[in-house]
């Protein structure tokens, strides 16, 4: 059985990037899931302190380990990335890739434990780091507002859970419980390995088998399945008051169109026209024309057939901005967009997509997400499909879009 190990050999980059993705269902213990990468990066059986591990990595000519937690569909994707210099740039005879894979394997499967428990101080320090991350989102009012709207729209669904888990869960997590969770999680779920750089396919496959094999025990399955065609009877309105200087308006729209759908490319064009770029309708009208906001964009949640339209505005401009945004959406359904706008949109997407291949991390992320969502097109193919989308197809998509939730973060003691 082939492992989900995808290798992109290229001489273009000076470094090799290895990315391991673990997809863990978000509903059960999201906070423990989020904490795992933070704790696992802190030491292994062979390198039991972070200092020892870091020094070993730096010995490998500055190899860099990075971890992240993202939410994709109903999963938390735990990322472990290792980047190191490619052979041609190392002193003659030196090579880092074997050691790199060995260390990555240890990080995932031979963590530093005390019996069947993660070390208490490591766990408490990383709980603190995770706390800061979560609070960081709370303090970033744009990010916070977007998350709140999603939480409202998906109130009783896994997707409504915050990707880093819950602050309230932290006090209940200890080294022992986390270790139990680790045993039940790593190697028990879907995993992907993506590698790009100056490497040989066979060598990477062999190293993956040798050092990471047990992670791929589960048979491969697509993960980011088509969104439900949930329809809304009534628009949900949520207002929150905080001590802020600027209001954040987030409007959640449902399209029902996801990665796997025929209309997917028409949908991307739709989003490009409406709000993905500075030339799009939202930016052009809400900011440039009416000066209501410094930023106004759409953000797609591609695994769920939903997008958010958001802007930062003065509190008193809520009604006006909301109406203006709804007008742009209505205009799209009536075909009120010109060929020039479509052309700018195609070009902007082309620039974005064709650039992907020049950025190792972004490229691997997008290939992984596409593959797990059942789409295997290369960026260049996506550009071609976008270019073939017609006005009529975009209008058809626009007619399926309807408003689900309006979230507004506003100041204290204010009437809108």
């Amino acid at each position: 059985m082939t492992m989900p190990v995808f290798v992109f050999p290229t001489p273009r980059f000076k470094t090799v990037l290895v990315k391991l993705f673990l997809h863990v269902p978000i509903e059960h213990k999201p906070t423990e899931n989020a904490l795992l990468p933070y704790v696992l990066r802190r030491g292994t059986a062979t390198y039991p302190t972070t200092l020892a591990l870091t020094r070993r990595l730096y010995e490998l000519y500055g190899a860099e380990l990075q971890t992240a937690v993202r939410k994709i569909g109903d999963y938390q994707t735990l990322e472990f990335a290792l980047e190191f210099p490619a052979d041609p740039y190392l002193p003659k005879g030196h090579s880092v890739i074997h050691d790199a894979f060995q260390i990555l394997g240890e990080i995932l499967m031979k963590p530093r434990l005390e019996g069947e428990s993660f070390p208490a101080d490591t766990v408490s320090q990383e709980k603190e780091t995770l706390r800061k991350e979560i609070e960081g989102v709370i303090n970033d009012k744009i990010k916070y507002s977007l998350e709140r709207c999603v939480a409202e729209m998906f109130k009783d669904e896994p997707f409504g859970i915050f990707p880093l888990g819950r602050l309230a869960d932290l006090p209940y997590i200890n080294g022992r419980g986390l270790c139990e969770h680790y045993r039940r999680t790593v190697g028990r779920h879907q995993a992907d390995l993506y590698v790009i750089g100056h490497v040989r396919e066979e060598e990477v496959q062999e190293l993956a088998r040798e050092h990471l094999g047990p992670l791929f025990a589960e048979p491969w399955k697509p993960l980011f399945i088509a969104p439900s065609a949930k329809s809304t009877q009534q628009v949900s309105e949520v207002v929150e008051h905080q001590d802020v200087n600027q209001g954040k308006l987030v409007m959640g729209y449902r399209s029902g169109i996801g990665y796997g759908d025929e209309e997917y490319f028409a949908y991307l064009m739709y989003l490009g026209l409406l709000g993905a770029f500075p030339h799009s309708k939202l930016f052009a009208n809400v900011r440039e024309k009416e000066n209501l906001a410094y930023f106004a964009y759409t953000r797609p949640l591609r695994t769920k057939g939903v997008f958010l339209a958001y802007a930062g505005i003065d509190f008193a401009k809520y009604e006006k901005t909301r109406c203006l945004i709804e007008q742009q959406v209505a205009d799209m359904a009536e075909g009120k967009f010109g060929e020039e706008l479509m052309d700018l949109t195609r070009k902007a997407y082309a620039n974005e997509l064709l650039s992907l291949a020049d950025h190792p991390a972004r490229y691997l992320n997008s290939r992984m997400e596409g593959a797990r969502a059942g789409r295997r097109e290369e960026p260049a193919e996506i550009v071609e499909k976008l270019n073939n989308v017609t006005r009529e197809q975009i209008i058809e998509v626009a007619k399926r879009v309807h408003l689900d939730t309006v979230y507004f973060l506003t100041g204290k003691e204010v009437r809108r």
């Binding site: 972070t50 870091t54 082309a350 064709l354 020049d358």
Partner: protein, 433 residues
């Protein structure tokens, strides 16, 4: 058109350079196989250059602070429309930024590179300032200044610079102040523009899969169709900066959840350019990694004590007219952190940086520098910044290989001297020392 070709086989890079009449240096780093091409067209004119003797002039003139940054905004406004729009029509992503020492206009494109390059060269060399468009831009820049005033990272940084430096203009906000930009007129903009924006005071860098010769020809042709004033030496006048710092400590309050602190060390050895500056920079960067980087014992201790987090960092900013070390981040106890850093510096001043520590740090820096080369954007920007300082960007790798622990110990003594250091803290509102 032939220029020079510099080879760096160790890192697999080639740099093509040429000087195009009437004096524009052009640097092209070809990156085969890349779809993106990044170009930077910059001028050696930054926020510190508010007093100068223009070419052919006799007396120094002083202009209000913030003109370099104002020009950065203003140049995008054209007689008909806006340069951003022109780039967008060709699917390119454009931007600009002003630093203490330079102003840089740039774009990244995956298609129509030469058409976009024409736009870049054209709009930067075509000033168009009117009372109306200057007044409009002034309003936007005012908002920008106010936005930065609210940023804790910006505030802790500029408060520190104002504490390290007594008179050097690096202590002033790059955009100026609301008051200083109120005094900027179209005439002042034109005067400064004509003094500094001459090709001999500028640079063009390109990184991506392009034919360097074609770039040289294309730009040479474009320049040949423009009229330039004769140019000449610009005499920059900087106030005399004493060795001592201004004040050892500064504190401020903002609406944030945790205190932020930044510790600074003034490097009294200034006036360096070229290889000398690059060697110093590399030595200090290795020093900082060895001392407070993730491979240092101190980092692990501070992290365990919750005195630092993942955002903790250290850097060296070295230019011809100023240089300093900055280190810090979010912390639960700014004074304790500053104390611990000082103690460690004291200790290492006595023991020196060990061989092992040095080697880990050097390899880490090597990995970081190598990683940077992957990105056309980072390379293009690096080439420009280094050009203003007379630095050969890709020489870093050979110099890093040659670096010795003794050089690192030397800069440790020269630069990390507590007598010439300052601490800046931002506390959450309601908290204090």
């Amino acid at each position: 058109m032939t220029g020079k070709v510099l080879q760096y086989p160790e890192i697999g890079e080639i740099l093509h350079t040429a000087v195009l009449p009437p004096g524009l240096p052009v640097l092209v780093n070809r990156k085969p196989g890349y779809r993106e091409t990044h170009a930077v067209f910059g001028v050696k004119y930054g926020s510190i250059d508010s007093t100068f003797i223009p070419p052919g002039g006799k007396e120094p003139i002083t202009v209000p602070d913030g003109i370099a940054h104002f020009l950065e905004h203003q140049l995008f406004e054209e007689e008909r429309g806006n340069a951003f729009e022109r780039f967008a029509k060709l699917g390119a992503n454009s931007n600009a930024f002003t630093s203490f020492v330079s102003t840089n206009y740039l774009f990244t494109a995956t298609d129509h590179f030469f058409d976009n390059l024409s736009i870049l060269v054209d709009f930067v060399l075509t000033p168009y300032f009117t009372e109306k468009n200057v007044a409009e831009e002034r309003g936007i820049i005012e908002q920008e200044i106010r936005m930065y005033e609210d940023s804790p990272e910006w505030r802790v940084y500029f408060n520190l610079l104002a504490s390290l430096y007594v008179r050097n203009p690096v202590r002033l906000d790059i955009a100026g102040t609301v008051e200083s930009i109120a005094r900027i007129t179209p005439k002042l903009l034109y005067d400064c523009y004509h003094a500094f924006y001459h090709p001999a005071n500028m640079v063009l860098t390109v990184a991506g899969d392009v034919d360097p010769e074609r770039v040289f020809e294309h730009v040479a042709e474009q320049l040949a169709q423009k009229k330039f004033n004769p140019g000449g030496k610009i005499e920059r006048v900087y106030p005399e900066e004493p060795e001592n710092i201004n004040r050892p400590y500064i504190e401020d309050h903002l609406t944030i959840s945790r205190p932020i602190t930044l510790l600074g060390f003034k490097d009294r050895k200034v006036g360096l350019t070229g290889e000398e500056l690059l060697r110093r920079e590399l030595a200090v960067e290795v020093l900082l990694e060895a001392l407070v980087g993730k491979s240092s014992a101190l980092y692990e201790e501070l992290y365990a004590e919750n005195l630092i987090g993942d955002d903790f960092s250290a850097q060296y900013d070295g230019e011809e007219s100023f240089a300093h070390v900055l280190l810090g981040g979010e912390t639960t106890d700014p004074h304790r952190l500053a104390e611990r850093l000082r103690q460690e510096i004291d200790k290492v001043r006595r023991t020196g940086v060990g061989q092992e520590q040095f080697e880990w740090a050097r390899r880490k820096l090597f990995g970081d520098l190598l990683h940077q080369l992957n990105s056309p954007e980072r390379v293009g920007n690096l080439l420009a910044h280094d050009h203003y300082r007379g630095v050969d960007s890709f020489a870093r790798f050979a110099l890093l290989r040659e670096l010795l622990p003794s050089a690192v110990d030397e800069v440790l003594h020269e630069v990390l001297n507590p007598e010439f250091s300052s601490v800046s803290v931002i506390y959450p509102k309601g908290e204090g020392a």
